[in-house]
C-alpha cells in the first residue's frame, strides 16, 4: 500500500523507485574479514545495499570505511590472503555471485560488471597500445574478428572524447585525465549493466575532474549502465549520483536518494561531514570538525560504531548497535538520535 | 607505546613479523647454536683437536668418536667443533669489514653526486672480475694464509654492499623527510647519520647474511685448494680437502664437515630470507 505522501516523495526523487522495481544488484548482510598481523579486521560488517537498473549510487566514506573492499567483493576479487568474504550474498540479477566459481565469475567481469580502479597512472598496461587494451576486452567477451574489435574500440575512444587516431598510442603518451578516459572506454567497451568506479577522479586535477564527471553524466544518459561510484567527495556525489549510501567503520549508516541524504534528516556522522566541509558559497569563521578519529578496525567500539565521536550519544548508543530506521520512504538511517535536516551554516 | 609499555619502535615491528616465519626463526636458532658451540668449543670437545693418535687412525664414527678419526688419529668431531670458530670468525669479520667500507662508499656515492661516478666505476672494476679469481690473485700476491685470505674475501664482498647501499640511499634521499630535515637546518652529516643511514639498513642487513654465506663458502673453497687457512687448522674446507684421498672408504672425513657447511649456509639463507620478508613491508609503507 503506497500512501499519497510516499508517492509524492518518490516522485520528488531523481530516480523513480517503486517497490516493484527490479534490483540489478542486491547485497545482503555481506561480511568481509581481513587478517592483518594476527588481528582480525571487520572491513565490511553486515552491509546490505540495493541498486536498480540505470541508477547511480554514490558510496561515500573516508579512508578505512570499507568501500573499496565492498566493491572488490562484488567482483570476487578481494585479495584472498588476507581477506575473506565470510557471510552474506551478492545477487546480480538474482544470481548470487559469491557462490560462483572463478571461471563462472569471469564471464561477468568486464562484460556484465566492469570496474574502474582508483589510480589511472597504474591501471593501464604500459606495453600495450590503448586501442589494443580496449579491443582486448571486446574480444575476450565477444566472438568478433580483430578488425571488428578494433573499429569498436575506435568508437569507444571517440565516445570518451579521444580522437580515434590515437588508437595506436601508448599509455605514457597520455596525461592523467586522458588515461582515465581510456580506462572508462575499456570499462564500457562491452556495455556492462553495472559499472563500479572506485574514486575515479580523486587523482585528477579539479578542472580535469569536471571534464570526467561531465563525461560520466553524458554517458549515463546515453547508455544503460548502472553505476556504483565510490568516493569520499560529497561534491562529486552531488554532481553525478541519484542515490547515496554512507559508510562508516565497515557499515552503511545512512542510505537514500540524493535529495534525502543531502537535504533530509541526518545521521550525526553525515551531519558532521557536511559541516566540516569548507564551503565556497558561504563564510564561516571556524569549521565544525568531528572530534576524534575513525576507530581502529581491529578494536571497533561496542554498540553504535560512531558513538565515541558523537555529541548526541546516550546510554543506548554505547551498548546497542542501532538498526536501520526508515522515517521517510526510501531514506534509511542507522541511529538512535536522528538529527533534523539542517546543514548548520548554509541553506 | 604498546600494551606492555615498551616502545613500539619499528625494530619491534620487524621482530614481531620475523617471529611469525617459523623457518627463519629456525635459521636464527641454528645460527645462535653455532655461535654458542664456537664460543664454548674447548668445553664441548671430548678430545684435543690437534692431538694425533696413531693407534686410532681412520676409525668409523662410533661411541668414542662420534665423527670418526682421520688419518692422523685426530677426532673429527672435535675438529669440526673447533672449525666452527674459524667459519664464524671468517664469515662475520670479512663481511662486517666489507659492509662498513662498502656502505660508506655507497652512501657517499649516492649523497654526493660528484663522487658517484668515480666510486661506482671503481666498484664496477672489482665486480667485473670473477670473485674466486680475484681472491686467488690477492692471496697469491700476499701469501697463502688466513689473514690474507680474509683481506681478499673482504675486498671481493665490498662492491656489492656499495651497490646495495647506494640504491637504497638514492631512494631515501628523495623522500620528503630528508627535505624536511634540511628545512629545519640539519647539516649534511646529520642528515646522513640520523636520517639516511637508519632508513637504508634493511637491504644491507639482508645482503649481510648473504655475504656471510658467501664468505664461508669461498673460504672453504680457498682453503680446500690451499690458499686460505693452512693445515693443521681445522677449518671445514681444509677438513674436506684432507679427506679427499679417503673419500671412497672413509667418506665421513669429507661428508661430515661438508654437512656442517651445508647446515650453516642453509640456516643463514633462511635467516636472510626471513629478514628480507620481515623488513619488506616496512619499506612498502
Amino acid at each position: 500500500m503506497v500512501s499519497a505522501m510516499h508517492l509524492t516523495l518518490a516522485l520528488n526523487n531523481r530516480e523513480m523507485v517503486t517497490q516493484m522495481d527490479h534490483d540489478l544488484l542486491k547485497i545482503t548482510n555481506l561480511e568481509v574479514l581481513y587478517s592483518v598481523d594476527d588481528d582480525l579486521v571487520r572491513a565490511v560488517n553486515s552491509v546490505s545495499l540495493k541498486l536498480q537498473d540505470k541508477e547511480t549510487l554514490g558510496l561515500v566514506g573516508e579512508t578505512g570505511a570499507g568501500k573499496t573492499t565492498l566493491a572488490l567483493s562484488i567482483l570476487g576479487i578481494v585479495p584472498n590472503p588476507p581477506g575473506k568474504v565470510v557471510a552474506g550474498s551478492v545477487e546480480y540479477e538474482g544470481i548470487d555471485l559469491l557462490k560462483l566459481s572463478d571461471r563462472q565469475l569471469r564471464r561477468y567481469r568486464g562484460k556484465e560488471i566492469a570496474m574502474i580502479f582508483q589510480d589511472p597512472m597504474t591501471s593501464l598496461n604500459p606495453v600495450l597500445t590503448v586501442g589494443d587494451q580496449i579491443s582486448e576486452v571486446i574480444r575476450l567477451h565477444n566472438k568478433v574478428s580483430q578488425s571488428d574489435a578494433s573499429s569498436q574500440a575506435k568508437n569507444m575512444l571517440e565516445l570518451v572524447g579521444i580522437q580515434s587516431s590515437r588508437y595506436g598510442d601508448y599509455p605514457h603518451e597520455f596525461s592523467g585525465g586522458m588515461k582515465q578516459r581510456v580506462i572508462i572506454a575499456i570499462a564500457l567497451a562491452c556495455n556492462p549493466k553495472l559499472l563500479i568506479a572506485d574514486e575515479p577522479t580523486t587523482a585528477l586535477d579539479v578542472t580535469i575532474q569536471m571534464q570526467i564527471l561531465d563525461l560520466m553524466n553524458k554517458l549515463k544518459k546515453e547508455r544503460d549502465s548502472a553505476m556504483l561510484l565510490i568516493t569520499h567527495d560529497l561534491g562529486v556525489v552531488a554532481e553525478v549520483c541519484d542515490s547515496v549510501a554512507i559508510m562508516y567503520a565497515g557499515e552503511i549508516i545512512e542510505q537514500g536518494s540524493l535529495k534525502d541524504v543531502f537535504e533530509g534528516e541526518s545521521h550525526p556522522y553525515k551531519l558532521g561531514l557536511f559541516n566540516s566541509l569548507p564551503d565556497i558559497d558561504s563564510d564561516v569563521e571556524r569549521l565544525e570538525s568531528i572530534p576524534g578519529i575513525a576507530p581502529d578496525p581491529t578494536k571497533l567500539p561496542k554498540g553504535c560504531k560512531f558513538h565515541p565521536r558523537c555529541k548526541y550519544c546516550t546510554e543506548v548508543c554505547v551498548s546497542i548497535n542501532p538498526e536501520f530506521i526508515e522515517r521517510t520512504f526510501g531514506h534509511f538511517i542507522k541511529c538512535w538520535h536522528i538529527q533534523p535536516p539542517n546543514r548548520g551554516n548554509t541553506v | 607505546m604498546n600494551s606492555d609499555g615498551k616502545k613500539n619502535t619499528p625494530l619491534r615491528e620487524v621482530w614481531k613479523r620475523f617471529k611469525r616465519n617459523k623457518l627463519a626463526l629456525g635459521g636464527l636458532i641454528v645460527l645462535v647454536f653455532l655461535i654458542v658451540v664456537g664460543v664454548f668449543a674447548p668445553y664441548i670437545t671430548p678430545y684435543d683437536y690437534a692431538a694425533q693418535d696413531y693407534t686410532s687412525r681412520l676409525i668409523y664414527p662410533n661411541a668414542q668418536h662420534w665423527f670418526g678419526t682421520d688419518n692422523f688419529g685426530r677426532d673429527i668431531f672435535s675438529r669440526v667443533i673447533f672449525g666452527t670458530r674459524y667459519t664464524l670468525f671468517i664469515g662475520l669479520v670479512c663481511t662486517t669489514a666489507a659492509a662498513l667500507v662498502g656502505c660508506a662508499l655507497g652512501l657517499f656515492a649516492a649523497f654526493f653526486s660528484k663522487l658517484d661516478n668515480v666510486i661506482m666505476r671503481l666498484m664496477d672494476v672489482l665486480i667485473g672480475m670473477p670473485a674466486m679469481l680475484l681472491c686467488i690473485s690477492i692471496v697469491a700476491a700476499l701469501g697463502s694464509n688466513m689473514r690474507n685470505m680474509m683481506i681478499a674475501l673482504s675486498v671481493t664482498a665490498m662492491p656489492n654492499f656499495a651497490r646495495v647501499m647506494r640504491a637504497q640511499v638514492l631512494t631515501v634521499r628523495d623522500q620528503e623527510f630528508i627535505e624536511a630535515a634540511r628545512s629545519i637546518g640539519a647539516s649534511n652529516s646529520r642528515i646522513m647519520i640520523k636520517h639516511i643511514v637508519p632508513n637504508s639498513l634493511a637491504p644491507v642487513i639482508v645482503q649481510f647474511t648473504l655475504g656471510v654465506v658467501n664468505a664461508i663458502l669461498m673460504s672453504a673453497s680457498l682453503s680446500f685448494v690451499g690458499m686460505g687457512v693452512q693445515p693443521p687448522n681445522p677449518e671445514w674446507g681444509l677438513l674436506i680437502s684432507a679427506g679427499r684421498a679417503y673419500l671412497r672408504s672413509e667418506w665421513y672425513m669429507c661428508i661430515l664437515p661438508g654437512l656442517a657447511i651445508v647446515i650453516t649456509t642453509f640456516a643463514l639463507n633462511l635467516l636472510g630470507d626471513g629478514l628480507r620478508d620481515a623488513l619488506d613491508p616496512r619499506l612498502k609503507q
Binding site: M178, M210, E239, L258, P278, I280 | I184, A186
Partner: protein
C-alpha cells in the same frame, strides 16, 4: 601592516633534455605580517616549487627575495642557517615527511637540538611536550612512532616540528590534501588558531579552492609557472577576471543541491612548461582565445583596485 615577505621577479628554471623547464616564471608578490597568502593552481603550475624556492630548499634561477626588510636572495650558508629559524615548512604528505625511525618527540625536538636552544635535557623535554600540547598531541604519544598514528596526528607532528623554533613565517604545502575530510577541518582550525595566537604569516599552497577561501586573506592563482590572477580572497571569489580562474572556480563540485551548476569546461590539456615561449600559456585551452594570445604573453596588470590579472582580453571578457 608591515610587509614580511617580498618576492620580485622570481624565476626557477630546470634544465631538461629538450630545453629549459620554466617551473616558476617572474613571480612577484608581497605578504603582510600575520596574514595568509593562498597560492592556488593545479598540477604543474609551480606552486610547490615556488614555496621551496622562497625557503631556499631549491635555489632560485633569478629574482629577489626580501624577508623582514633584508635581501635574502643569495644568503651565505651561515646566514641561511640563522634564517631557517624564522622560515619553516609544513609538508604535504604526512607519511613521507616524517622519519619513520624517529619518535614523535624526536621529530618535534630535532630543531631544538640543531640550534642548541635548550640548556639541558629537562628544558628540552619540557619544550617538546609544550609543542605537542600546542598542536593537540596528547602527551602519551611522546614515544610513539609515525607508523602507529593516523594521517591527522602525523600532520600535527609536522606542524609541531615547524613551530619548534618559533618561526615568523611558515610555508604550508598542501597540508590537508592527504587527509580525510573530517580531519581536514581539525587541522585547518588548528592552523588558524596558531596563526592568531602567534601572529604567524602563512603562504598556503593548495589546489583546493574551498580550503584556500577559508584560510587565506589574499589569493594568487598560478598556471604553468606564471601568476594569472591575484586579489584578496573576498573579491576573488566574488569576481574572477582571468578565464582560468573562472574555470577553476566553476569546476569545484559543490556538496549541495540548491546551487546552479554552471561548469566552464576547458578543452584540451596542459601545454608543456618546457621553452613555452612568448605566448599566453593558457591560450590553448582558453574559450576566449584570439590571435594575439598566441603571439604575445600577456602582462600582469591591475585591472581593478588591488585585483591583478594577466590576460589580453581581460576587460573585454568581463565587461569593464
Amino acid at each position: 601592516m608591515s610587509v614580511l615577505l617580498e618576492v620580485n621577479e622570481l624565476k626557477k628554471y630546470f634544465p631538461t633534455a629538450s630545453g629549459m623547464l620554466h617551473a616558476v616564471d617572474k613571480i612577484s608578490f608581497k605578504v603582510e605580517s600575520g596574514k595568509t597568502l593562498g597560492v592556488v593552481g593545479e598540477s604543474g603550475c609551480g606552486k610547490s616549487t615556488l614555496g621551496r624556492v622562497v625557503l631556499h630548499l631549491l635555489s632560485a634561477t633569478s629574482g629577489q627575495i626580501v624577508f623582514d626588510g633584508e635581501d635574502i636572495s643569495k644568503p651565505s650558508s651561515a646566514r641561511l642557517h640563522e634564517l631557517r629559524r624564522n622560515m619553516q615548512m609544513v609538508f604535504q604528505d604526512p607519511f613521507s615527511s616524517l622519519n619513520p625511525r624517529q619518535s614523535v618527540s624526536e621529530i618535534i625536538g630535532e630543531p631544538l637540538l640543531i640550534y642548541n636552544v635548550c640548556k639541558n635535557k629537562e628544558e628540552y623535554r619540557e619544550r617538546v611536550l609544550e609543542l605537542m600540547e600546542t598542536v593537540g598531541l596528547a602527551q602519551r604519544y611522546e614515544n610513539t612512532y609515525p607508523h602507529e598514528l593516523d594521517g591527522g596526528r602525523r600532520q600535527r607532528i609536522g606542524i609541531g616540528r615547524a613551530l619548534a623554533l618559533n618561526p615568523k613565517f611558515v610555508v604550508c604545502d598542501e597540508p590537508v590534501s592527504a587527509l580525510d575530510v573530517s580531519i581536514q577541518a581539525q587541522i585547518l582550525n588548528l592552523m588558524q588558531d596558531l596563526q592568531e595566537a602567534r601572529g604567524l604569516t602563512y603562504i598556503f599552497i593548495t589546489h583546493n579552492l574551498s580550503v584556500v577561501k577559508h584560510i587565506s586573506d589574499d589569493i594568487m592563482v598560478m598556471y604553468l609557472g606564471e601568476m594569472v590572477e591575484k586579489s584578496n580572497t573576498k573579491e576573488l571569489f566574488a569576481t574572477q577576471l582571468h578565464p582560468y580562474a573562472k574555470a577553476l572556480l566553476s569546476s569545484i563540485p559543490r556538496a549541495r543541491l540548491d546551487v546552479k551548476r554552471d561548469h566552464i569546461l576547458l578543452r584540451g590539456e596542459l601545454s608543456s612548461p618546457v621553452e613555452p615561449g612568448d605566448v599566453c600559456r593558457f591560450a590553448q585551452r582558453c574559450n576566449y582565445r584570439k590571435e594575439i594570445c598566441t603571439q604575445n604573453a600577456p602582462r600582469l596588470e591591475e585591472v581593478l583596485p588591488g585585483h591583478f590579472a594577466a590576460c589580453h582580453r581581460v576587460r573585454e571578457i568581463n565587461g569593464l
